[in-house]
């Protein structure tokens, strides 16, 4: 791609004018080294030097088109009028990595803001997780952990926060996939992303003001503007669960900037296994595909994109329990009560989720002003949850969430030292819980309207100091229609506070129409100081404001796998976070490191906490209620690497979070335990690019957890009445796992590369349970897993 013509080649013309200047990154104004500039129709070339300077010489008076290429940027064309020596600086749109991974030096991490703590996962890292989930891949990043339901439902946790507090932006569109539920994994196929950025905080205001935890941004592969057809296929197999996966991507691009691409994934796995037993009913079947078409010129373009995600996910059979004494039995026995032989069959309890995303976007670039984009997206999320029911096999929960979003952004980038974004966003959302389930609706029928507007800016104070800031306002209105049992309505005191919203009374239920408005304000302010080459310091303050989600407002009912009755509260207001984050990155010789301490104060933090016990014909159930408390989280993410030579290196990362409920002065529930990841790698390019690494993953015991244990009276198996403490609070013991990964590349046929990967997860077949796995009461986590992966680039 790089043509190493340095200097000039003169045409046989009597011309000696020149064009000179600097080539810079469109976004951050950094000089771009090694850009190739060519004058269309003439054999005149130049290459930009280390400071981005170039000079094209030997031009006559006239109008020329200059094409600039750079390995990290989109090909750009500019028209220049020459009537003498011309000074002209160019800016290139800096794109992230292509399908065929190119080494990217200046990673595009400006999605949040220059001052915010953010990290990028590249194609290579993501490909290793081709047959796993988004949440699994993101754990590579220090400070990102996951909240699991077994091994198949994996939700990312950023510095201790998850679900509605973490926004997932799929190729520019905010995912509306019922993310409020702790058992709802992101409905997104990892293989659609070329790279993923994690912003640890609320500073990515363009995408939403309610990112109390952070933002996860996936980006689809971008087409090269040249006539080409390329693709890749990854085949995966795993011993644990006898799973397999296929994913294929195909891209056809034209020099005109037009492209068309398609991608599909199929994953299948049967029951997974812990070291000692089969985890019955933990199979997965997933089919996803996406198609895209578009035109990508430098000054204008459009994209049309559609993706579908369809997954059937088995939930551990033994985690479906009837009452608290079932839970006591499960905790005491230490083994699942239901174990059957391996099968690919997925029975109830299970989830069947389907997500459609269709998106139209267009942009126009205005010279000396910036880029205007307009996006429309449509999303439909259908979630069916199947419980074990008497006499019927249909879902007990069937929700259809439809969202339309319209957004527009104007990015001002005419000056190299000052950039700004302004935008507006509006959405309409409708939730339809299907009454044919014959089960009372967990989440009611509702319509929601939102409107948001924001402005963000960054300014280069000096060469070394960048400042940035932003502000966002969001309005949302939720208009719900919900049935309450008369007894629940009165028990919650709603008959006093909300008597005016009753629509209709029935025998033992009533229909109400709550309409709530929320005004949310969020902002960010920060700076980045590059005090030496390869050393920088970032400081960022951000405040996010999040309106309560439908579960926090409206839940009232039994939550099966936990045997807990969960109650929302119509009185819940929005929560507001104030986060300070500091990040220091440095390099000295072969040693690099990063330190990211943070402090997050959250007012009116919505938590689920126990308030008592409720008796039914099925026995007693603990009742948990969504309440608001003031909370604070602090912690640190550390990473360090040492490169011994071109063959060996060692990398290690550590993450710690400390969460405290300030009102009750006790720890917050479900905070990730401190953990250390260390990878020792060996590579040798001469041996087919052989890569071998040994990873140690050590998770400490979480010593800080709230005591939610409760007492239950029941008649035990031998007929005597006993009082027992149900120990739901205690965290599992610390554990340490070893994983091996290896890969090598082979040239096959003429233009293709085959990469063969062999992996062993949990090499020692260690039995362990994780504090952030909701099935830790019922079964051990996954045992040893041999995996093979064959990747073919063509």
């Amino acid at each position: 791609m790089l043509m190493l013509f340095l200097g000039i080649q003169l045409q046989a013309q009597q011309c000696n004018y020149s064009i000179s200047g600097v080539v810079r990154d469109f976004h951050d104004g950094d000089a771009l080294v090694n850009s190739t500039l060519s004058v269309n129709g003439f054999e005149i070339y130049a290459l930009s030097d280390f400071d981005g300077n170039y000079k094209l010489e030997g031009l006559c008076a006239g109008t020329y088109t200059i094409t600039i290429t750079h390995p990290e940027c989109e090909v750009a064309e500019f028209t220049v009028e020459v009537a003498g020596d011309v000074k002209r600086d160019f800016k290139l749109e800096h794109h992230t990595e292509e399908l065929n991974s190119v080494t990217v030096k200046g990673q595009n991490l400006t999605k949040g803001s220059a001052s915010s703590a953010a990290q990028l996962l590249q194609t290579d890292d993501l490909e290793n997780y081709s047959n796993a989930s988004l949440g699994d891949a993101l754990r590579e990043i220090p400070g990102v952990s996951s909240l699991n339901t077994g091994s198949t439902v994996v939700k990312p946790v950023i510095q201790g926060l998850h679900s509605s507090r973490v926004l997932i932006i799929n190729n520019g569109t905010r995912m509306e996939d019922q993310e409020w539920g702790v058992e709802h994994a992101p409905n997104l196929d990892l293989n659609t992303a070329a790279n993923i950025t994690v912003v640890k905080g609320a500073s990515a205001l363009r995408y939403g003001g309610d990112a109390v935890g952070g933002v996860i941004l996936t980006q689809s592969p971008k087409a090269h503007a040249k006539d080409t057809l390329y693709g890749k296929t990854i085949l995966s197999g795993a011993s644990n669960g006898r799973g397999y996966g296929v994913t294929s991507t195909l891209m056809k691009a034209y020099e005109s900037g037009f492209y068309i691409q398609g991608q599909g994934t199929r994953k299948r796995s049967g029951d997974r296994e812990s070291p000692d037993y089969v985890l019955s009913n933990t199979g997965v079947s997933e089919n996803d595909f996406s198609v895209g078409i578009g035109l990508d010129k430098f000054t204008y373009g459009f994209d049309a994109y559609y993706s579908m995600y369809d997954a059937e996910i088995g939930i551990l059979r033994a985690s479906h329990i009837g009452n608290v004494s079932d839970l006591v039995r499960a905790i005491n026995s230490g083994e699942p009560f239901f174990i059957r032989d391996f099968t690919y069959d997925i029975n109830a309890p299970k989830q069947d989720v389907r997500h459609h995303l269709a998106k139209l976007s267009m942009f126009k670039r205005f010279e000396k002003a910036g880029k205007l984009t307009l996006d429309y997206s449509f999303q439909q999320n259908n979630r069916k949850e199947f419980d074990i029911r008497r006499g019927r096999n249909d879902p007990s929960l069937d929700l259809k969430l439809t969202t339309h979003t319209l957004q527009s952004n104007f990015a001002y980038d005419a000056r190299s030292d000052f950039k700004a974004d302004f935008g507006v966003e509006a959405s309409y959302q409708e939730n339809f819980p299907n009454p044919e389930t014959d089960i009372r609706r967990l989440i009611p029928d509702y319509e929601m309207y939102t409107f948001g507007t924001y402005a963000t800016a960054s300014y280069d104070l000096t060469e070394k100091i960048k400042l940035d800031g932003g502000f966002r306002y969001d309005f949302s209105e939720i208009d719900a229609q919900k049935f309450y049992r008369n007894s629940s309505w009165e028990d919650r005191g709603y008959d006093v506070d909300f008597a005016d919203i009753i629509v209709e009374q029935f025998d033992n239920q009533l229909l109400v129409n709550p309409v709530f408005d929320y005004h949310n304000f969020s902002g960010t302010l920060g700076g980045r100081y590059q005090f030496a080459n390869n050393w920088d310091l970032k400081l960022n303050f951000s405040s996010a404001s999040r309106a309560p989600n439908p579960a926090e407002l409206f839940s009232d009912g039994l939550h099966h796998s936990a045997a807990i009755i969960e109650l929302g509260d119509l009185r819940n207001k929005q929560e507001q976070s104030f986060k300070t984050s500091l990040e220091l990155n440095g390099q000295s010789g072969g040693f690099t490191f990063g330190v990211n301490p943070f402090y997050n104060r959250i007012n009116d933090f919505i938590i689920l906490e126990p308030i008592g016990v409720q008796y039914t014909n099925r026995g007693a159930f603990p009742v948990h209620e969504y309440r608001q408390v003031d909370a604070r989280l602090y912690g640190v993410d550390l990473q360090a690497a040492y490169y011994f030579n071109d063959k060996f290196d060692i990398k290690t990362s550590f993450a710690y979070v400390n969460g405290q409920d300030l009102d009750r002065d006790r720890p917050l529930i479900d905070m990730p335990a401190p953990n250390v990841n260390t990878v020792l790698s060996f590579r040798k390019a001469e041996w087919n690019n052989l890569n071998v690494s040994l990873r140690n993953q050590s998770v400490f015991k979480q010593t800080r957890f709230p005591n939610n244990d409760f007492q239950v009276n029941y008649i035990n198996e031998s007929g005597s009445e006993v009082t027992e403490t149900v120990k739901i609070s205690e965290s599992p013991a610390a554990y340490s796992l070893f994983h091996i990964a290896s890969s090598a590349e082979f040239k096959v046929l003429n233009q293709s590369t085959l990469t063969l990967g062999l992996y062993v997860d949990n090499v020692l077949n260690t039995a362990y349970r994780d504090y952030l796995n909701r099935q830790r009461y019922f079964a051990d986590d996954l045992g040893r897993n041999f995996r093979i992966q064959i990747k073919l680039n063509y």
Binding site: I388, F483, G719
Partner: protein
Amino acid sequence: MKNLKILSLLFIATLTFSSCSNDDDNTPELINEEEVITTITVTLVPQTGETVTLTSQDLDGDGPDEPVVDVSGSLQAGMSYTGSVLLQNETVSPAEIINEEIEEEADEHQFFYQVGSGLNATVSYADTENDYLTNGSTNPVGIDFTLLAGTASEGQLTVTLRHEPNKGAEGVSEGDLSNAGGETDIAQTFEIVIE
């Protein structure tokens, strides 16, 4: 290589299918849950004398109201009672008899009657799966049972219904819960007096 690309394209194409439908209605319809067991009635009919009924009624299901538990009278010492259990959903009218569903899935259900310490009584099963399913199985279901009241005493009787218990496990067919597993559909305790 070209073949691979075509194959890849075919693979993507085969995954391409979609579904779309929209059913809108402005006022959501009322759901009366059919599977809720609001009422448990255990009827104990003696050879002579007064029938004793044990009831537990919880009309709001998982709602905040507690079940109302009632025992109609005391048992006669030394008397053998013919027992049966009736499960109903009284949130719908007429009340739905849940027993029918249990009988249809007799092989996946079993009642357990645990006699608490202090109470001098024994319970034995009086039915088998075969009574409902004609499947030849002699495993008990427990809709019908026999209760033999011993000497005068007081104590608790706990009625448990398990869904998908391990009926083959040791002691389960004799009514021992220890190895039964499964998940609990009902569990209610009654205070019994034998006079």
